[in-house]
Symmetry: C2
Subunit: 146 residues, 2 copies
């Protein structure tokens, strides 16, 4: 019996992340709505996003544990393919190709692990970001320091 109400706040939050395709932190959402004259407590935003993630309407990313989790609107087709998240620009890339489907098969058959591609996010640097920056000065991977 999952009686879930559809409240004003939930609608506002969902619309906000729907209209802002970039990844948003909880703070972004709170202050963004504030600019529109809407005040929603951050606890509510956390709790609402949690429910939206459970229902698959939103997706959560952890790019850097320091700056907090990011959320993004997730449309319905996202269950079947992988997501690549650029740790530079925050862009989310939907990637569905046969190779990755094969990978899923491989992991399942050879390692006994049933991959949930909808939940999995592959982190890295997108072509846009890696091309526009000089390769020597950035260590995108092995440096979590800052």
């Amino acid at each position: 019996m999952r009686g879930e109400y559809s409240t004003k706040q939930k609608t506002l939050i969902l619309n906000y992340i729907k209209e802002n395709s970039a990844h948003l932190t909880v703070a972004d959402i709170v202050s963004g709505l504030e600019l529109q004259g809407v005040h929603i407590g951050k606890a509510t935003v956390y709790r609402t996003l949690e429910r939206l993630c459970e229902s698959g309407e939103a997706r959560k990313f952890i790019v850097d544990e320091r700056s907090g989790a990011c959320y993004q609107y997730a449309d319905s087709g996202c269950e079947r393919h992988f997501h690549l998240k650029c740790i530079r620009c925050g862009r989310l890339i939907h990637l569905s190709c046969d190779f990755l489907s094969g990978m899923e098969e491989h992991i399942f058959h050879d390692h006994g692990f049933k991959v949930s591609s909808g939940k999995t996010v592959i982190y890295g640097v997108c072509s846009h970001c890696s091309g526009n920056e000089d390769m020597d000065s950035h260590q995108c991977e092995c440096h979590s320091s800052r």
Copy 2:
């Protein structure tokens, strides 16, 4: 002129993560050393690990923002392996196999995306838990973290 001292604490921490192939949180390291009768302040552990990551002797990754970052001794191609996280029991599985290295290559060459395998965690259900496949409401007994 980066004179970096080689202190007793740094050696102890490095040895500890070297001998424990598992992923360790800062708390794990502090309490693990405590059991050996060695006391090192956690601030020191954080600072030392940061330096070890910079020098490439350790690496850091984030599985779940709630439980904190994990550190691991960096050797034997650890940059090349992925982590599988069971969404049922919370177990973390190291997966290094040629297929996945191939996947990384594929994503880079065909999609222009430089994968950061250290930051990436593949979610799904491990072989231990998949005996009772029932994604929404079931929980198997192998609960570990949190």
